[in-house]
């Protein structure tokens, strides 16, 4: 009896195990874990409208500070210099500066038809890439993930919406393959289009894969591109938004078994999250406009302006020393100019007089006429390679850094303009825009002949650096 009872229990137990294998219990959807949707930028879009006195031909744009319909941006807090904004029907402008809470400036100036009070819209499109990450809850073989993103009411008209994201034509959807999940390209469908009607008001993105699926696998799904192309437009402020608070929107991630209709089927796993957008924080700093001018001496035996320097100069003097007859002597200085003035700068030069020996009977070293015998203080200069029979004092220039305009260019010499001869200062270096440490060598050259009276000769050269106006 005892033996019969024991074998009965064993048989019942085996039957139970077989029945459990044949008729497994129903499973229920689990939560995907650690679900995140990271926006490339949490900046919201801008949807405002032009206000009088904005006028065509002007670069100043005023905005309404009260909402109206889809125009819910009522402060320039949502804009920053450099933003590309659409004003009016089609034209795009770049914001140059934010004047105050309801005014900014653009370039180019407003075209006719883009400055109508109350009717011309101003749109800035924020296009953040979205990166959805999560860990799978179950191993669904060769199924697909669906991501639903809250859509705007007019969710595919390529302008910012105030109730969700705009589809913007068709964003790129990609997924990174991991063990157990070999993804094909994602499929994006705008809210309301075939296959994306339920739940309503969500854009749909499907990421199909082959593979066994893995429990706890880390998945990365990406919607949009880093450069903003093929990317959904972030919402503009919602109608009920309180200033300086974020607008939150829902997104849903589902994992379906292969062949499921995502509009009606129950997903294997599901999770819901929120993404928030807010105006950018505008950080400002002031850089004062200025111009900086430096002069430095250059040592002897240096190669400058295709010449070798014979003397060491300082910032304030070019001491040529003892001159040999019919022999060149060279000294060089380095001039550096920087300015953040938009119109650039120029440097002029003038000497007080020829190199002079103001003894009882004054004598002068002449200003150079170059080899040609015809170079002038205001011309482009010319070659001066022969010291004999071409005595004089002159200079040439050579660029050390940057791309300034110089006159004369290296190899061409000319004399300095002379204040004593009532000549105006001549421009030697200039630049038509912002300049960062543009440096030039000024190479002075001198030669004397046997007719030059002995003595100490000196003069004074004045360099003047000013911004252009």
């Amino acid at each position: 009896m005892k033996k019969i009872g024991k074998s009965f229990v064993v048989q019942i137990s085996i039957l139970l195990q077989i029945s459990l294998l044949l008729y497994p219990s129903l499973s229920y959807a689990a939560n995907l874990t650690t679900v995140k949707n990271t926006l490339q930028s949490s900046r919201m879009s801008f949807s405002g409208r032009v206000k009088s006195p904005t006028a065509a031909g002007s670069s100043n744009v005023w905005i309404y500070t009260a909402t109206s319909g889809i125009y819910t941006s009522v402060s320039t807090a949502g804009l920053k210099p450099g933003d590309s904004v659409r004003i009016g029907a089609t034209n795009t402008y770049t914001i140059v500066s934010i004047v105050d809470a309801d005014e900014f400036t653009v370039t180019p100036v407003l075209a006719a038809g883009d400055a109508d009070d109350g009717t011309d819209p101003i749109f800035y499109k924020a296009v953040p890439k979205q990166m959805i990450t999560f860990n799978t809850a179950s191993a669904v073989e060769s199924g697909f993930f669906q991501v639903l993103i809250a859509a705007g009411a007019a969710g595919n008209d390529n302008i910012p919406d105030i109730t969700g994201f705009d589809f913007n034509g068709g964003p790129t959807a990609t997924a990174s393959s991991v063990t157990g999940y070999a993804f094909s390209a994602g499929v994006a469908t705008a809210a309301g289009s075939a296959g994306c009607t339920a739940p309503a008001n969500y854009h749909c993105f499907e990421f199909h894969y082959t593979g066994t699926g893995v429990i706890g696998a880390g998945i990365l799904l990406t919607i949009g591109l880093q450069d903003g192309t093929n990317t959904m437009i972030a919402p503009a402020p919602s109608a009920s938004r309180v200033a300086n608070t974020a607008d939150a929107y829902t997104y849903i991630v589902k994992n379906f078994v292969n062949g499921s209709n995502p509009e009606s089927a129950t997903p294997a796993d599901i999770s819901t999250g929120k993404i928030a957008v807010i105006e950018p924080v505008r950080v400002t700093a002031t850089v004062e406009p200025s111009i900086t001018f430096k002069i430095e001496g250059v040592a002897a035996s240096q190669s400058t302006c295709s010449l070798t320097t014979d003397v060491t100069t300082t910032a304030t003097s070019v001491p040529f020393g003892v001159l040999s007859l019919d022999t060149f002597r060279v000294g060089t200085q380095k001039i550096t100019v920087s300015t953040n003035a938009a119109s650039g700068y120029s440097v002029t030069a003038i000497e007080n007089e020829r190199l002079s020996n103001l003894a009882a009977v004054p004598s002068y070293i002449p200003n150079t006429l170059c080899d040609s015998g015809a170079c002038t203080f205001s011309g482009a200069g010319s070659a001066w390679a022969t010291a004999a029979a071409h005595a004089g004092f002159g200079y040439t220039l050579d660029i050390v850094s940057g791309t300034p305009t110089i006159i004369p260019t290296v190899g061409n010499f000319r004399p300095f303009a002379s204040l004593a001869a009532n000549e105006p200062p001549t421009q030697i270096i200039s630049n038509a825009g912002v300049a960062s440490s543009q440096a030039v060598h000024v190479c002075y050259k001198i030669s004397v002949d046997a007719t030059q009276p002995a003595g100490d000769y000196e003069n004074q050269v004045t360099y003047t650096a000013t911004a252009s106006f």
Binding site: V109, P289, A315, T316, F469
Partner: protein, 325 residues
């Protein structure tokens, strides 16, 4: 001990060599000066005064003795560069003064190395001041009156300047007379017949333009460069770089990047187009317009050349007499 001597012998030439390799060609005793702001534009009524603070910084390694002066300037070229002549004088120079207690115009003062000084410049337009523009430069120059007895060579004087564009007028927007001149395409990619230009429809066209201020007051170039179709539909818009055009002077017009205006048509951009420059000032507008007919010149020439080659080949081959058997 012996070892140390060997090390020392090895180290000395190495030190000597490295000293020569690393020695700089530029001397340390330098002049470095900075002024801010570099440009000031003022509109003032007769009988009123303004003051402006300037920051002068000595970036050099030694103390500098400087002198501040005001010098009139005129335009040096079409690019906004001033021509200063220290010898020129003007009655309105007396309108300027420095409000600093220690620093006065044309009197030397010293700035320590690495430090800065603030200059407070005041400008007072007398009630009977002539209604016109005043263009001057605040010059800060090095000051030296102790050249050595034995000095020979060239002594250097350095000046840094800030430009002042001052309009003395009773009106908020005095009359300005701007005229656009020399507005035309540049380069070789076009043909001119009468007043009409013909240009290739796949070659970018650059445009040159000047603005002439014939008025007595400074004006700013704010406006737009526009290319439109014959139906006045804009196909290209570009801003104009805002620059100051002083009275009775000319200035080159450029795009906001400081370059010449440029329009790059496309292959399908065929037909008559208007290219216009519109400048708007506070009380006057001026427009310059030229007409360009775009057509596929290069493409047509290519096709024509191909056609000539094909016809030539056909003619040559058909003109050959049949070979004798």
């Amino acid at each position: 001990m012996k070892k140390n001597i060997i090390y020392l012998l090895l180290l000395l030439p190495a030190t000597f060599f490295s000293f020569f390799l690393t020695s700089s060609q530029v001397s340390a005793a330098d002049y470095g000066m900075s002024i801010s702001p570099p440009l000031l534009r003022v509109h003032i009524k007769p009988g009123k005064s303004i003051t402006q603070a300037y920051k002068i910084e000595n970036l050099g390694l030694s103390d500098k003795t400087l002198v501040v002066s005001i010098v009139p300037f005129s335009e040096a070229d079409n690019f906004g560069n001033p021509l200063l002549n220290p010898k020129t004088s003007a009655s309105w120079l007396s309108y300027f003064d420095l409000a600093n207690s220690q620093i006065k115009l044309d009197r030397p003062f010293t700035i320590s190395a690495g430090s800065f000084e603030q200059l407070v410049l005041s400008f007072t337009a007398p009630i009977d001041a002539p209604l016109k523009d005043i263009y001057a430069t605040l010059m800060v120059s090095t000051y030296e009156n102790t050249l050595g007895q034995t000095f020979q060579g060239t002594a250097l004087r350095a000046t840094i300047g800030s430009n002042l564009l001052i309009t003395v007028s009773s009106e908020a927007f005095p009359n300005t007379i701007l005229k656009i001149e020399d507005f035309s395409p540049v380069g070789s990619g076009f043909i001119k017949m009468g007043n009409l230009y013909f240009a290739d429809s796949i070659t970018p066209v650059k445009f040159n333009a000047m603005v002439n201020n014939e008025g007595n007051f400074l004006s700013e170039t704010r406006g737009i460069f526009r290319v439109t179709t014959a139906n006045n539909k804009p196909v290209h818009l570009e801003g104009i770089l805002p620059v100051n055009v002083i009275a009775k002077s000319k200035r080159q017009l450029l795009n906001p990047q400081g370059q010449s205006f440029e329009f790059a048509p496309s292959l399908g951009r065929i037909g008559l187009h208007k290219v216009s420059l519109e400048i708007k000032t506070d009380n006057s507008n001026t427009t310059g317009t030229i007409e360009i007919f775009f057509f596929p010149l290069k493409l047509s020439l290519g096709l024509l050349l191909a056609l000539i080659i094909v016809i030539s080949i056909v003619k040559i081959t058909s003109g050959r007499s049949p070979e004798e058997p």
